[in-house]
């Protein structure tokens, strides 16, 4: 087997799990993915349909991606069954840097998928982990048991939903802010992934509270290998310099959370 991560491998889906009506997890075996770092992503070829970036939501002998149904490609992916084939290349990107100590993890929606292998690893390192999860409603919650297993007894899981059907009613960034104000915790780092507006808010909070941040961003991707330029935010390529960025880098991204770019590079307000 080649060790060039860019060569596409065709892998068989060994399991497909419905997390909730909008989210499924797809399990497969791939030697290179098994060696990925938390926060890295792969380019998934949904054969005959599209190729899209997806974070690894599990890294192990079996790997997984956890996918929200939001458009053509993800809908096609949701139709796949065990034994169906997908193509994968990667893993790509820098991934999260592990910080030992007291950490916060702020996840919005399917952004949690990206953070799951990180939470697994943080547990192995014996970190104190406080996880803030945001969902639209209780029907959108997924993989909660896994997060709770990882956090207990050295941390806590807090949930926010837009409709208040479970946990705090409101945005997860609001939950996080409330917690910061109330407990004045001194996190060694705040990890976050989710919708850009949420990330922007969490970033602003971290700046205000003088907290280190590692934020995993999204952008439209074609090559995944840092040459096509379609994923640029500020002077950075999300696929190669990211997807995980620190505060000094985020400061050079004035557009963060304001607009993103389409396949043609045209700015789209978010």
């Amino acid at each position: 087997m080649s060790t060039n991560i860019n060569f596409r491998r065709i892998v068989k889906l060994v399991r497909v799990v419905e997390e909730n009506p909008r989210v499924k997890t797809f399990w497969f075996k791939d030697a290179l993915c098994s060696k990925a770092k938390p926060g890295q992503f792969i380019m998934v070829w949904i054969i005959g349909v599209d190729e899209i970036p997806l974070s690894l939501s599990t890294i192990g002998d079996l790997c997984s991606v956890t996918v929200a149904k939001v458009g053509d490609a993800t809908e096609a992916m949701h139709r796949l069954k065990p034994d169906d084939l997908i193509g994968v290349r990667g893993p790509y990107g820098n991934g999260f840097k592990i910080v030992k100590g007291r950490v916060a993890v702020v996840a919005g929606g399917v952004g949690l998928a990206t953070l799951l292998p990180l939470v697994d690893k943080l547990k192995d390192y014996g970190c104190w982990i406080e996880v803030f999860l945001g969902f639209r409603s209780k029907h959108d919650v997924f993989q909660l048991a896994r997060v709770e297993r990882a956090v207990r007894p050295n941390g806590a899981v807090m949930i926010a939903t837009d409709d208040g059907s479970i946990g705090f009613k409101g945005l997860v960034s609001e939950l996080f802010e409330t917690h910061l104000k109330r407990s004045k915790p001194s996190y060694d780092v705040v990890y976050t992934c989710g919708p850009p507006a949420m990330i922007r808010r969490v970033y602003e909070l971290c700046e205000a509270w003088n907290l280190k941040i590692q934020a995993s961003l999204e952008a439209y991707m074609k090559c995944g290998i840092g040459i096509c330029g379609s994923c640029c935010i500020g002077p950075y390529r999300v696929c190669k310099d990211g997807p995980v960025f620190s505060a000094p880098q985020l400061r050079k991204m004035p557009e963060l959370g304001l607009y993103k770019r389409g396949p043609d590079g045209v700015k789209i307000p978010v």
């Binding site: 596409r8 065709i10 599209d50 840092g226 500020g234 002077p235 043609d264 590079g265």
Partner: protein
């Protein structure tokens, strides 16, 4: 080697009335879709940059997969995604006062479009020159132009008539006789040529029995095409007295010297950035300086065209 300034005298290139501090230019379509990344490429050491190829209207390009790594080269069928000229000029506005000329790559599906582009770009002084892409091998309506000398001459003539800037014509290797096309471009008024765009190619995923690219056909770039590109540069400079930007598979200082010896005025770097990152500029510049110093050359002008000696 952080000191780019000290090696400028050995490496600088003056052509088209422009001054490039070194011969390493970012190739069209590589990263050049936004201003901040172009700025970063220049800060990384590039002597000049060519932007993504821009048309009059926004274009999404081909569906994914659009880029595949074959090991000895890349296969891409980007399909000229771009935000359209107006939007892109707003993007470039911020790029003033940089140390490297900015070359705008453009394409057009008709001469009418070229007239309009020429008029719009003439007054846009962020851009020092225009590279006319008639050679993208995977976009219908563009790939055909570079194969037809009559069309090439006419396109270039039209653009020159309406554009008050140097025009570089980017040639395709997918032709029976590249010298004939080069002549047509020069006859039309081209100030310089770039050789080469990608080589039309395809690859099949045998596990699923389908082309690896959604667009079926793509353009091959990277080391695999270097000997083809060197041949094209040599053939053109053997026949014509026109500045040629060499492009195709350059990865090392060694490769740059090869293109210069083949007759290239300067070179463009593309695929190497996938493997080598933006560090490649400084790495190659250092290699060029070492090569020149070790062999006792005082500047790259002394190696240019050397392989044409009899």
């Amino acid at each position: 080697m952080t000191d780019l300034a000290s090696i400028e005298p050995m490496l600088k290139v003056e052509t088209l009335g422009l001054r490039f501090r070194n011969p390493l230019i970012l190739a069209a379509g590589i990263l050049g879709l936004t201003a901040p990344i172009l700025k970063r490429v220049i800060e990384s050491g590039a002597g000049g940059v060519v932007t993504k190829s821009i048309g009059l209207k926004p274009r999404k390009g081909h569906p994914n997969p659009t880029v595949v790594d074959l090991g000895f080269g890349l296969l891409n069928s980007m399909g000229l995604p771009n935000p359209g000229l107006e939007e892109f000029m707003k993007e470039l506005e911020t790029l003033r006062g940089l140390e490297a000329p900015i070359i705008l790559s453009i394409y057009a599906f008709s001469e009418d479009e070229l007239v309009e582009i020429g008029r719009i770009v003439s007054d846009f002084n962020v851009v020092s020159a225009v590279e006319l892409n008639v050679s993208c091998p995977h976009v219908d309506g563009i790939s055909e132009i570079a194969k037809n000398p009559v069309l090439v001459e006419s396109y270039v003539q039209t653009l020159k008539r309406h554009l008050d800037k140097p025009v570089i014509v980017k040639l395709s290797p997918n032709v029976s006789d590249i010298v004939r096309i080069a002549e047509a471009a020069v006859d039309g008024g081209a100030d310089a040529l770039t050789a080469i765009n990608t080589v039309r190619a395809m690859s099949i995923d045998i596990e699923v029995g389908r082309p690896v690219l959604a667009g079926i056909f793509g353009g091959l770039s990277g080391p695999a095409i270097r000997p083809i590109a060197v041949r094209c540069v040599y053939e053109i400079t053997e026949s014509l007295n026109v500045p040629v930007f060499g492009c195709g598979g350059i990865e090392t200082a060694h490769d740059v010297i090869e293109f210069l010896m083949a007759g290239a005025t300067a070179v463009q770097l593309g695929s190497v950035i996938a493997r080598g990152g933006l560090r490649v500029f400084k790495r190659i510049l250092k290699g060029l300086r070492d090569f020149l110093e070790e062999r006792g050359y005082s500047s790259i002008d002394e190696v240019r065209g050397l392989a044409h000696r009899r």
